[in-house]
Symmetry: C2
Amino acid sequence: MLLDCGEGTQMQLINYKIRYQRINHIFITHLHGDHYFGLIGLLSTMHLHGRKNDIELYGPIGLDEIITLQLKYSETFLAYKINFHPVDTENITQILDAKHFVVETIPLSHRIKCCGYLFKEKPKKRRLIKEALPEDLSLLNLVALKDGKDLLDEYGEILIENEKVTLPPKKNRTYAYCTDTAYLEAIIPQITDIDLLYHESTFLSDMKARAIETYHSTCAEAATIAKKANVKKLVIGHFSSRYKDLSPLLEEARTVFPNTSLAIEGELFEIPEE
Amino acid sequence: MLLDCGEGTQMQLINYKIRYQRINHIFITHLHGDHYFGLIGLLSTMHLHGRKNDIELYGPIGLDEIITLQLKYSETFLAYKINFHPVDTENITQILDAKHFVVETIPLSHRIKCCGYLFKEKPKKRRLIKEALPEDLSLLNLVALKDGKDLLDEYGEILIENEKVTLPPKKNRTYAYCTDTAYLEAIIPQITDIDLLYHESTFLSDMKARAIETYHSTCAEAATIAKKANVKKLVIGHFSSRYKDLSPLLEEARTVFPNTSLAIEGELFEIPEE
């Protein structure tokens, strides 16, 4: 999955040795250039390098029209299919129900139609403790245990108590990607208690007037959202190019929400499963 | 002036410390992505960084529609004007008559509408040899000398012979940018005797079948055009990404046309004025 695709994304994917042909879902938040000008190039490169698998593309209406026009004038007929899913940027909508996760839009407040995306893993099954299990259990019984059921004998008495032979499921992790947006408390209920929040923080607080004017957030505001939503970790990014040194941005956010990191080019953030 | 604008051009302009706001003319050869996907990003950045001066944009029809659509969906109203000049890619056409130079299209043979561009400096004036001149000459007389005229006395006799007090003009330099194209001898008359030819050379000769199929040239073909057109110098570029080592490409071209260089990222080629 790829979230937004600014100019040069394909070069950076190659630089960081990320196999771009494995991307099957692309989510675009809004149609400002720094969020999608690299998309047509990536899609073209996928085609030139032999892609056959469909791409599921999510984004505001208009994105399909732009891509179609560019393909038309280059007389390119893609060897794979782009399934475009226009998103409702005004209302929370589940846009993808995959085997292991779902994705919802997060309505944001920006100068043009814009939404973030919330990724939620589906609840996982309990984990069997192999050493604690009798050897002769049927597959059906194993499935029942994974589903949290006790095993009963023919009289309905508990034969094997679930909690004695299974561990709780690994947790279903959650990630929200919120950019670009003004400070918006309306998103808090939707992202409460999530594991990881990426939130834009274009400015320091001394530029708050400019942030309001341009529908962006300050670092303190991003951190306030993280705090009020009780998220586990915050990553801030989308810094104005005026900031050559990013440490004051991190500092400002950490004053409000200590578990904050900077979204540095190439940085990897893992969400632990337990 | 900027010739073509692939993805990442704005980043490279910044990397090479080229002041992109000084670009006033942009020439696009054709609407394949590697030649224009960086244009909308560059135009947006010019706007964001306060550009007020017009941009003259030359390229095949459709380019204006693509840019207009992208600006529409980002709700961007540029603070400067883009004057779009659709080019005739089928016929040699003078598209720009500036103070010191003219620009013509060079019809090329590619899978879609495509043209190169020929830049010709206008003839320059003769240069005065200050030490050889009397001190009391009028401005009119100086202009006449620069225009190559002798100065006559009231009886029509030569007073000052032009060639004794002036040097020949600096030469009017010429540069042709020819990409993308199959081997095309039709361009030779238009580029005969020019100072510098940039010609695409996507493949080595062992890939000639592929070159024909994709309307590209081999290095030997680019060099043959240079030789037959009697140009002073050839620069080859647009190499297939299959070539990690470019020296065989240079070698192949030099076998046919020795004064050849590789168009390496960031390389500067100066055309001497004398």
